[in-house]
């Protein structure tokens, strides 16, 4: 019987499987015969089975074995993700055993075959590097190789090893035999205070040596400070942190976050602030301060064990370390002064070098007066003011957010939607302004520090700094001035607000031209900030703003109508009631239609209209408007506005001899004002 000339693929696959499995059922030496027997003349099938049997023999057990079971529980998380490379050979280094798995890869004990010496080989797997990064990495390694000191673990060699298409940078360093950590060593040897200080001085010498060769350690922590079997200190990983940054190796979030977590208590505030560029020798001074604190007290200066990363960073940046004297009485006085000077958050107040720190420790050991001074009372006061300023800054930022949030009501919403992305733009600007204010207000500046800091001081200061620092960014600068101005106006400090609003207006005119809604808005804000002595300008500003809006949006627009009521109010104050009434009658239906019958703008228009009509002697019409205005303002107006209208209406009634009718309105107005100002406040008459 002939087989079909062409078997379907799946049938063929079945045959293959059949023969393969049958072959496996017999002992290995009989398999070839079994395959030949089962395949008959199908030599190609026989060849395939034979090949598969060969593949089977070569396939490693790990092939397609599960990487993990799905039924993992949260507790199973501690197994290292990296597999052990022990036994591998990398560029002439044979990995003997894995010493540690850390934030930046694993460290192996390795044998450098050529020199027959043991080294510590740090492998940075998971690092990313391009040709540039490789060059920087190599250059940095060269610099490190030149740092030689008996207490610094020598860098021997570095390079990149290619594994499965990925570059794995490595550094070969001096192996520290029988090494234990600095703190463990001190405890094991039961070192006393003075011996601990001497041990620490050795560390300082090593670090100082690196500094003198232009290398900052940047990752000083007990894990990097080892003591070998003969009691010698060895500082490891000198400059490696920078090497990784330079080489842009530590670019994965995993490495970064984990590394930061491990190192956090020893990172200086400036490093935590994220500005790696400012980190200098004083950052190492800080880290040494933390190590000294631990060495003396057995604990960290800040208790951040159970805090989130962000919160921990915040604590290190803002809080004072726990007093050493609380740990042990002997740590009072000079020792605490030394440690705390090393731990100063402000760079300028810290020891300016490791040498200076070491010098004070030597002085302490030889009972000489130390050079560091405990913070003065004046300084303590300043710190207090700064803490208050942080509070002020917090209030400011909240205020900004609230204002900008609130700004998107009324006609601003109308403009925002029409302007499309304006709301988005505003949000982005809000962020930048908030950032600016926060930066300025929480930064250290002696001019502010000694003053009794109020929001007003903070505002002035912010605006002054803005002029100096935002010259290149007129848009943000104008926003800051507009904002500061508006806050002053709301704080009833209109003359102060006026100055800022004028600046904002000038800037914005230049930026956006004379027919822009933002310019119109600023004009309106400025007009509100001006007092009765500037009525001409008030009218002019309101009128200009109205013109701009009318050109942009036409007569049927809410913002145009609202602008008309503002012009009307100005005209009314200048005694031109008839013109005002005309404008108000034009505006009112539009405002009601567009913003709703109980909008604050309706209340404002009606109250203004009532005033005008009263002055014109149209008492009946005035009374209707007053009552309508009061009804609207009861729903949607701030209490002072309602009180104003109530009080005006009461006066209106009195003037007509309707004293009794006036009483409840006057009483209600008085009550509102009393509530607002607190009992005993002077009655407030509107102009």
């Amino acid at each position: 019987m002939n087989p079909p000339p062409s078997l379907s693929q799946s049938t063929r696959f079945r045959r293959l499987e059949e023969v393969f499995c049958a072959a496996l059922e017999v002992p290995e030496h009989e398999r070839a015969a079994r395959v030949a027997e089962l395949c008959g003349s199908d030599r190609e099938l026989a060849a395939e089975v034979t090949r598969l049997l060969a593949v089977r023999a070569q396939t490693r057990g790990t092939f397609l074995s599960p990487a993990a079971r799905l039924q993992v529980s949260a507790d199973d998380f501690t197994a290292p993700a990296e597999d052990d490379w022990t036994g591998r050979c990398i560029d002439g280094f044979t990995l003997v055993r894995r010493l540690a798995v850390g934030g930046m890869g694993a460290v192996y004990e390795a044998t450098q075959q050529e020199l027959r010496r043991s080294v510590a080989l740090k492998l940075m797997r998971g690092a990313l590097l391009d040709a540039d990064a490789r060059r920087r990495f190599a250059r940095e390694a060269q610099i490190l190789a030149e740092v030689r000191h008996p207490h610094i673990a020598q860098v021997y060699a570095s390079g990149t090893y290619r594994d499965a298409g990925v570059d794995v940078p490595y550094i070969a360093m001096e192996l520290v035999p029988g090494a234990v950590g600095l703190l463990t060593h001190a405890d094991q040897q039961r070192l006393g205070l003075r011996d601990r200080l001497r041990l620490f001085l050795t560390v300082c010498d090593a670090v100082l040596h690196g500094h003198q060769r232009g290398v900052i350690h940047r990752d000083l922590k007990p894990a990097n400070l080892l003591v070998d079997e003969s009691g010698h200190v060895k500082v490891i990983d000198f400059g490696v942190a920078r090497m990784l940054e330079r080489g842009e190796l530590a670019t994965t979030a995993r490495t970064d976050a984990r590394h930061i977590i491990g190192t956090l208590p020893h990172l200086s505030p400036e490093q935590l602030a994220g500005d790696a560029r400012v980190a200098d020798v004083r950052s190492d001074v800080y880290a040494l301060g933390v190590v000294l604190y631990e060495l003396l007290s057995g604990r960290l200066p800040y208790d951040i064990r159970n805090e989130s990363l962000a919160r921990a960073a915040e604590i290190v940046r803002t809080q004072a370390p726990a007093p050493l004297s609380a740990v042990h009485r002997t740590l009072r006085g000079d020792l605490q002064t030394i440690v705390f000077k090393a731990l100063e958050k402000e760079l300028d107040r810290r020891y300016s070098s490791v040498e200076a720190l070491a010098e004070d420790i030597r002085r302490y050991l030889s009972h000489e007066p130390i050079l560091a001074r405990p913070p003065s009372a004046r300084y303590q006061l300043r710190k207090f003011a700064q803490r208050n300023r942080a509070l002020v800054a917090g209030v400011m930022v909240a205020l900004v957010v609230a204002l900008i949030g609130a700004g998107t009501t009324a006609w601003k919403v109308v403009e925002a939607t029409r302007e499309g992305q304006r709301a988005q733009l505003a949000a982005r600007k809000a962020e930048r302004i908030a950032w600016f204010l926060q930066t300025v207000l929480s930064s250290a500046d002696p001019r502010l520090a000694d003053a009794d800091v109020t929001i007003r001081d903070a505002l002035d200061y912010a605006a002054a700094r803005a002029d100096a620092e935002l010259a290149e960014e007129p848009e943000v600068l104008s926003d800051v001035h507009a904002l500061v101005g508006s806050i002053y106006v709301r704080m009833k400090q209109s003359p102060l607000g006026e100055r800022h609003l004028r600046k904002a207006l000038a800037l914005r005119r230049e930026l956006y031209g004379d027919s822009n809604c933002i310019v119109a808005e600023t004009m309106t804000d400025l007009a509100w900030a001006l007092d009765a002595d500037h009525l001409d300008e008030v009218e002019q500003l309101f009128t200009d703003a109205l013109k701009i809006r009318r050109t942009l949006y036409g007569d049927d627009d809410a913002s145009v109508a609202v602008a008309k009521t503002q012009v009307a109010a100005a005209k009314s104050l200048k005694g031109r009631q008839a013109e005002a009434v005309t404008l108000l009658n034009e505006a009112l239906p539009v405002v009601k239609r567009e913003l709703g019958p109980q909008h604050t703008a309706v209340g404002f228009a009606l109250a203004t209209l009532a005033n005008c009509l009263q002055i014109m002697g149209e008492t009946a019409a005035a009374e209707v408007s007053y009552r309508e205005a009061i009804a609207v303002r009861r729903v949607a107006a701030s209490p002072p506005e309602l009180a104003d209208t109530l009080s005006n209406f009461a006066k209106f009634l009195k003037r007509q001899g309707r004293e009794e009718e006036a009483v409840p309105f006057a009483a209600e107005a008085a009550e509102i004002r009393a509530r607002r100002l607190g009992p005993g406040a002077a009655p407030c008459e509107e102009p």
Partner: protein
């Protein structure tokens, strides 16, 4: 995660395990969301020498989505089967994109990179494996599912046998052959005469 989305996941998983391919796509964003949340939580833990076990992370995220007690449907076998499908998709999709795009600082992406590294350490290029597995499914669906269950889902061969409704012995044979067949296929660059050669035999 909310009870609603958990219900949604449950529903989608039921659809996945009954072979609805579209359900896989709909479930992925939910898994990623959970992953992102988890990864962030992990990075905030303060444990100096703690290794972020990425593979476990992926699994954990997945298992959170399908908390057994809240799963209304089926037995855990069905769940496991669906999980294996989803795992395969997540890993293979990520393996496809990861070399094209420069990786950013996204913790999830990093976690997935690591997970893939673990898988590839064992079995070579994931994309090629995925393709070979798809081909295998054309020829023998059951074997392909067994590989998926075992390799991506972490099921034992015995569990796989139960899920697929075959005897353990059959499953073991299936596994032995599928594994070698896939290995062969991956080693000679995807050309496999046993499957793709329709020219067949010489006449007897």
């Amino acid at each position: 995660m909310s009870a609603e989305s958990q219900d949604e996941v449950t529903r989608l998983l039921a659809a996945v395990s009954s072979g609805d391919k579209g359900a896989v796509s709909r479930i992925l964003p939910l898994v990623y969301d959970e992953l992102r949340r988890l990864a962030a939580a992990f990075l905030q833990r303060e444990r100096p020498d703690h290794t972020l076990q990425a593979t476990a992370l992926v699994h954990e995220a997945y298992m959170r989505l399908v908390r057994q007690d809240s799963v209304g449907f089926c037995d855990r076998h069905q769940l496991l089967a669906a999980a294996a499908v989803v795992m395969r998709r997540i890993l293979v999709d990520h393996a496809r994109t990861k070399r094209r795009e420069k990786r950013g600082g996204d913790a999830v992406m990093v976690a997935l990179d690591e997970a893939i590294a673990v898988f590839e350490q064992r079995s070579g290029d994931l994309k090629a494996l995925d393709e070979a597995l798809t081909d295998l499914a054309q020829l023998d669906e059951r074997k392909a599912r067994l590989v998926e269950l075992h390799f991506f889902g972490g099921a034992t061969i015995e569990e796989g046998a139960e899920i697929l409704g075959v005897s353990p012995r059959t499953a073991a044979r299936d596994w032995e052959f599928a594994r070698v067949w896939l290995r062969d296929r991956l080693s000679d660059g995807g050309v496999s005469r046993s499957a793709s050669d329709g020219e067949a035999n010489e006449p007897a």
